[in-house]
């Protein structure tokens, strides 16, 4: 339903005043010529660039030079709804006497955070720029990386109240058309009053809402986003969020960090293996410790058992209770130090880790081996590069511990089977979550557990880019190997 703009300037102004009443930041600036109002400009204070308005819109209008409105983008429209959408996105609109059209000029401005180093994904080697809250900046940062017309960016407006612009980006020649159709459909079906973070979109369009495992990867880094686009994945930009969503995702992909690809490949491979080991530790270590200490003492080397027994001698709690107390306090400590201002966060970690930890061991409330296990688990979970996967592992270790406390290693095995069953059933936009492992694809092993040299990475991930797998042509790279395939 649209309302047409009328020829009378007064009528238009009245209509707008009615709708926009009670908004101090909406500006309607009249342009008078010889005592007569000939036009007015509508914009929102703070969102539009006031300098651009006065220099490039108001000044020509004052001089009655209608055609000299100089903005990078101008368009005409005949209905009020389009005008309001544009104005609330930061544009200015000019209404003229005797014209049933308004001119929308791009004078978007307003202050937003600049391009800074991403906080959540620090690297030693690699680009330092990160996405910010401005959609245009974010899309441009990716365009800077991929200067190709094949990179498509489709725009959607979602949120009945927030009218948030959401951009779906993909490589036209790489993406699976089925996936593309599906994601467009799912985005269109979102019916919500507001989108304030990409998390809203993520939960609205993911395959399995009741899975603890993340089905999207998110990043603050343009290089990561570009790399995933080049793998044939799509990316979703949400205005107002520095986090860009990417899918389809696989478990192994969430264990990869951008630096794996920037450092020498042997180092990248070694660190990747380390991460896999530590992911398993983060999930199973406390459970296995509890199971072995309460059911299978015969599995510990004798001297170690005697040391642990000596340390546990004065502990009043069963191992499982001890483990739960420490793990819960660790989670609380972590949560507290994230939410607090950075300066106080330091104090919390000193208080929590050093004072409470040390005192609890010395008072004989918890045993030193348990503290070691909990700390090691914490470190292990921090070594997972994707926060959303790390927090999943941290959450799942509690049921594992409880299973271990009740059934011992049998419980661990049952938990393991349940998790594996779930993972092999889980899909992200039709791509199996364990792709590479199950279904096993030997052709993807150049970038799974190991990251082979870029010279050998001639094909893309088979599960995702099956339309166009070839990353490299013939032996175009210089090298003494010469004859590599």
């Amino acid at each position: 339903m649209t309302t047409p703009i009328r020829k009378q300037l007064d009528a238009n102004r009245r209509w707008l005043k009615e709708r926009l009443d009670g908004n101090f930041d909406v500006v309607i600036q009249d342009i008078e010529h010889r005592g007569k109002t000939t036009a007015f400009v509508l914009y929102i204070e703070g969102m539009a660039d006031s300098e651009a308005i006065s220099d490039h819109v108001m000044a020509p209008l004052m001089r009655q030079e209608w055609n000299h409105i100089s903005a990078s983008q101008k368009s005409e429209t005949g209905d009020f709804e389009t005008v309001l959408d544009a104005v609330f996105a930061g544009n200015g609109a000019v209404f003229f006497e005797d014209a049933d059209k308004a001119v929308i000029v791009n004078v978007r401005g307003g202050t937003r955070r600049g391009v800074e180093e991403p906080n959540s994904e620090a690297v030693i080697r690699g680009p330092r720029e990160g996405f910010n809250e401005n959609l245009r900046t974010n899309t441009a940062l990716v365009r800077f990386k991929i200067k190709s017309p094949k990179l498509k960016m489709e725009s959607f407006t979602i949120g009945t109240e927030t009218r948030t612009q959401v951009v779906l980006a993909y490589m036209d020649n790489l993406i699976d058309p089925g996936v593309l159709r599906e994601v467009r459909e799912r985005i269109r079906k979102i019916n919500i009053d507001g989108i304030l973070e990409s998390g809203y979109i993520e939960e609205s369009i993911e395959d399995d809402t009741f899975s603890p495992f993340p089905q999207f990867q998110y990043t603050e880094r343009p290089d990561t986003a570009a790399a995933q686009l080049l793998e044939g994945r799509f990316a979703i930009f949400v205005d107002g969020s520095p986090f860009v969503l990417m899918a389809p995702v696989t478990l192994m992909q969430l264990l990869q960090a951008s630096e794996d690809y920037y450092d020498r490949f042997m180092i990248g491979s070694m660190i990747r293996i380390l991460r896999i080991v530590f992911m398993l530790l983060a999930l199973y270590l406390p459970g296995v410790y509890v199971a072995i200490m309460t059911y299978h003492q015969d599995m510990i080397p004798t001297n170690l058992l005697l040391s642990i027994a000596a340390a546990r001698e004065a502990i009043p709690f069963p191992t499982i209770v001890e483990a739960l107390i420490l793990e819960v306090s660790f989670e609380a400590l972590r949560e507290a130090s994230i939410r607090l201002p950075r300066t106080i966060g330091q104090a919390v970690s000193i208080l929590g880790a050093l004072v409470v930890g040390q005192a609890a061991v010395e008072a004989g409330i918890v045993s030193a081996p348990m503290v070691i296990i909990v700390s090691l688990t914490g470190i292990a979970s921090f070594s997972i590069p994707r926060f959303n996967l790390a927090i999943t592992m941290r959450m799942l270790r509690f049921p594992m511990m409880i299973m271990a406390g009740i059934f011992g290693l049998l419980g661990i095995v049952v938990g393991m089977v349940l998790i594996t069953t779930h993972l092999s059933r889980l899909r992200s936009f039709g791509v199996p979550y364990l792709s590479g492992l199950a279904p096993a694809s030997p052709k993807d092993h150049h970038d799974l557990f190991f990251r082979l040299s870029w010279r050998k990475q001639t094909s893309r991930n088979h599960a995702i880019a099956h339309r166009n797998r070839k990353r490299m042509g013939g032996p175009s790279n210089w090298g003494p190997e010469g004859s590599w395939p």
């Binding site: 309460t294 004065a314 008072a363 030193a368 406390g405």
Partner: protein
């Protein structure tokens, strides 16, 4: 329906859980146990560390604190069967006896002479027991041997274990023992320990030491081979680890000491017509650790002379030990019978019935494949002037 199934599953988890949960605080982690024969009763003794007294214990837990050397607890009980003795033992202890970490099983001499199958049956039948436990024989009372205070190790059982692994290549475990009893044509053996006195200055203390080789026939101890024959017997059993021989060269008063880097023995039966002989082949290499003679040893003929002398020494030691075991104990611990069985099953079938009568007369011969690896960092002895 689905809800009912869920409820059933959840209650199955919550109501039945923790049924065999044991905290380490409630365990007596037995390190060493001893079995003696006391008249017609079995006396079973266990030794376990008092973990609260061990270093590493922190926090409260009693104000007294143990004296050094008192971090071990020994308790014993007797009954007409081993299991009932253990049950009697458990009545005196606040912690559950836990045998999964037992390292050493001591068998008293009287018990060993009576037959050890009752003990081994108990070990193999009860899954908490490890059949990799080392088995050894105590001369006299096993309980007394176990009570010998040990200053060198934190846990007394460790002392037995470490001595066993230094002396033998692979110490005899309960599994080896059972295997030897069950296999045709081979008898079990193990080391025998006793309590001796060690004296430094005017302070004397008791300690434990290897006393000889306990030789069994089936599950009964036949006797303990004297310590002077121990090296020879262990050499033939391929169990001696890095032996040292000090030999005098023919026509010389000075001795040369050889340290073996490795030595192994192989047994093969030789059948010619009706005759059965056994042949031990020793192969190994040694280095010179001391040279008291005036010769440079690096010369070929010199090293050959030393090797010859060492071979003679080995032949002498081994044949004395083998003779003793063949004729005095009449126990086939070397596995002559089983070697014959493996290589000449037809012959074995004919002789197996009267093997125990034939065994003492089986002739044994020796072959050697021994060489000098190096003479150390010296060529000439230090007392010889290289530039005369």
């Amino acid at each position: 329906m689905k809800r009912a199934a869920c409820l059933l599953l959840v209650s199955a988890v919550l109501l039945t859980g923790c049924w065999n949960r044991t905290e380490v605080n409630d365990l007596a982690i037995v390190q060493c146990s001893a079995v003696d024969k006391d008249g017609d009763h079995y006396r079973v003794s266990v030794s376990f560390p008092l973990v609260s007294q061990m270093t590493g214990a922190r926090g409260g837990g009693g104000g007294t604190g143990g004296k050094e050397g008192q971090n071990n607890y020994v308790e014993s009980a007797d009954a007409e069967a081993i299991r009932t003795a253990l049950a009697n033992l458990q009545r005196k202890l606040s912690r559950r006896l836990y045998f999964a970490h037992r390292r050493v099983l001591l068998i008293g001499e009287k018990m060993a002479r009576h037959g050890v199958s009752a003990i081994l049956d108990n070990i193999a039948r009860f899954p908490e027991n490890r059949i990799s436990t080392f088995v050894l024989v105590a001369e006299g009372s096993a309980l007394q041997l176990m009570q010998t205070p040990v200053l060198m190790e934190r846990i007394p059982a460790e002392m037995f274990r470490e001595i066993l692994t230094t002396v033998m290549k692979s110490p005899v475990t309960a599994k080896d023992f059972i295997h030897a009893i069950l296999t045709e044509g081979i008898d079990p053996y193990t080391l025998a320990f006793d309590r001796t006195e060690t004296k430094t200055g005017d302070k004397a203390a008791d300690t434990i030491a290897v006393h000889g080789l306990a030789v069994f026939r089936d599950d009964r101890l036949m006797g303990i081979l004297d310590a002077k024959h121990l090296n020879g017997a262990l050499l033939a059993l391929d169990q001696l680890r890095r032996p040292v021989f000090s030999v005098k060269l023919p026509g010389s008063d000075h001795s040369v000491t050889a340290q073996f880097l490795q030595i192994s023995s192989r047994l093969e039966p030789i059948v010619s017509g009706q005759d059965v002989r056994m042949r031990f082949t020793f192969s190994g290499m040694y280095e010179i650790s001391t040279n008291e003679s005036e010769n440079a040893l690096i010369r070929f003929e010199e090293s050959n002379r030393i090797t010859k002398a060492i071979e003679d020494r080995i032949r002498q030691e081994v044949s004395a030990a083998v003779k003793e075991i063949q004729t005095r104990f009449k126990a086939d611990i070397f596995g002559f019978g089983s070697a014959l069985w493996r290589n000449h099953p037809g012959v074995w079938r004919k002789v197996s019935k009267q093997w125990h009568d034939l065994y003492p007369q089986v002739p044994v011969e020796y072959r050697f494949d021994i060489r000098m690896e190096h003479v150390g960092t010296l060529n000439l002895p230090v007392h010889e002037n290289p530039n005369p």
